[in-house]
Symmetry: C2
Subunit: 337 residues, 2 copies
């Protein structure tokens, strides 16, 4: 009946955390939110005729991040950004978020406040009201689970890629993986790479803009790495995805590798980029690309095409077609789960 009981609600730390995030993330009179935090549940009003898109993303200390790598504010941002990236991949606009966190009491209110500030900053940046949450004590590592709801009149699945489609990638790849690899080797990562790991930017506005100019058949966010996520799209779409190694947009921090092949493997297998892979009807021209790059200040790159089949292959510079790398990448002499 003591510490194994549910912490009392009321004016305790749970409410402080939620209030802290709410005040920074929710405009009063938001038409999307009929009842916000503080009731048994939140009540959201979907846009008329639109579907509800929902996803959750759990971040566990020492599994998805380490305390020595990130500030708690960055942990908060990253946890929310990872969840919002799933909405971007569906072409959905944010409707509301719920954040559940389990924190060891010895972390204190300063950590909870920092976490809330980072989460709140990301929610505000992406105009996503915080509508609920749950804060619990824990005897173990910090756990943050973010659930996001969005709405879309015509959500994009990962299953719609068609033979003949072109494959596009937003942004550049590999930097987050490079930072994680440096940390694992007890090195200080390149500052640009570190920023990409700590501060991913879900491509919500980008996909919304692109949908008005391209006929996007399928989308997936690059959380596992281009190789793995392309495989997910291929499987779901029952199609072959052919990726051109030379076309893969590499982050500038990967220029430290004189061997482009090494850099490409990091970009393919590294993950954590939270960029988007899109399959779109062919024909989107250089005009769209240039306008996109000028508007969003990130590259938009055609990286391959969709063919009949059911796998993922890599087209090498010499025109040979090889299997997509996967699993352990031993350049850093590390293991993957």
């Amino acid at each position: 009946m003591d510490e194994t009981r549910r912490p009392q609600l009321g004016p305790g730390p749970e409410f402080d955390l939620i209030r802290s995030m709410t005040s920074s993330a929710r405009a009063p009179g938001d038409a999307r939110v009929r009842i916000g935090p503080g009731d048994d549940a939140a009540v959201l009003r979907p846009r008329e005729g639109e579907d509800i898109v929902v996803s959750c993303d759990m971040s566990v200390e020492d599994v998805h991040f380490r305390r020595a790598w990130l500030t708690w504010e960055e942990v908060g941002w990253r946890s929310v950004a990872a969840a919002l990236s799933d909405l971007a991949a569906m072409g959905a606009r944010p409707l509301g978020a719920l954040i559940a966190a389990a924190l060891a009491p010895e972390l204190g209110t300063e950590v909870a406040d920092s976490l809330a500030a980072g989460a709140g900053n990301c929610l505000r940046e992406y105009d996503c009201p915080l509508v609920g949450g749950d804060l619990s004590r824990s005897t173990g590592p910090a756990v943050i689970d973010v659930t996001v709801l969005g709405s879309a009149s015509n959500p994009i699945s990962r299953a719609g890629a068609l033979p003949g489609d072109e494959l596009w990638v937003t942004g550049d790849l590999g930097a987050a993986a490079l930072a994680a690899a440096a940390w694992e080797r007890q090195l200080e990562p390149d500052v640009r790479a570190r920023h990409r790991f700590a501060h991913p930017e879900p491509r919500c506005a980008e996909v919304e803009w692109l949908r008005t100019r391209m006929d996007i058949h399928a989308a997936i966010d690059l959380s596992d790495g281009l190789a793995g996520d392309a495989r997910h799209m291929a499987t779901a779409s029952e199609a072959r995805l052919l990726i051109e190694a030379e076309a893969i947009p590499l982050h500038a921090a990967l220029e430290e590798f004189s061997d482009r092949e090494v850099a490409v493997r990091i970009a393919l297998t590294g993950g954590e980029d939270y960029e988007l892979l899109l399959a779109a009807a062919p024909g989107a021209g250089d005009g769209t690309r240039r306008e996109f790059e000028s508007r969003f200040d990130i590259p938009l790159t055609r990286v391959g095409r969709v063919e009949p089949g059911d796998d993922v292959v890599l087209l090498l510079a010499d025109g040979a077609v090889g299997p997509m790398p996967s699993g352990a990448y031993d350049h850093f002499e590390t293991r993957r789960s």
Copy 2:
């Protein structure tokens, strides 16, 4: 880049867990689910004109339950039931659930399967499709976060209680707290009390039925205990809630206490009952109560009334009005957080 990286998606344990729960919890062709688990996000179709109701509930091992107390199947049921109870309190019908879990690898697949089976049983019992989830390794205690979405054309808030309303409670109270107290004293709990702790039954159907016969102004689920939850309703409604001590429906397991006052205190402060406290316009008669009890096989009890004010008071048998007990309850010589 090794164990701190996101576990690969694909045909791994995450998909097994989700598939296991999905297969037990989701009927194919469910009109509510346009895209189920396996995409970046799920897509749900709300009922036309209805609002979305959403809540999350996190269960942490050694905080909300102990491994020695419950089977993993019971942990799964209880985690889902606690979240669905929030939908019941809003008068919402389940639309979909997402389950995120962090489990230590040494627990093995048998534990994950049991957890999934219990969660799946509860989802199926309440006709709530599983639409997403996230499974992570963890180095610490098991953490399960359940997010539930429901829909309602006119959700019930906890903020609507009006002076003159009658207060009603579904079911009987105190058994779950009694079980927890026994465990804390290293005793085997009463088998009926244990069942109520391990297998709470959200009152979804009950509230839906009652709404057609009573004008329910406010509702809250009894997770903290009647005293605390009545206080939440009073604060949100800006009203005084007067609870009659003699009227509180006590679970039969509390008959072990010869002193009714002790049993009442357990029922008031114990929590974990997941029954509902309702504030309804006066006049619902004995006919409604009898029909309810016959249909649902649980009591429906008028426990008090709403008055002008902003607090919660206890009306004692001798007609005196006393403050509501709160905080530490020292009969079991235990501490509360």
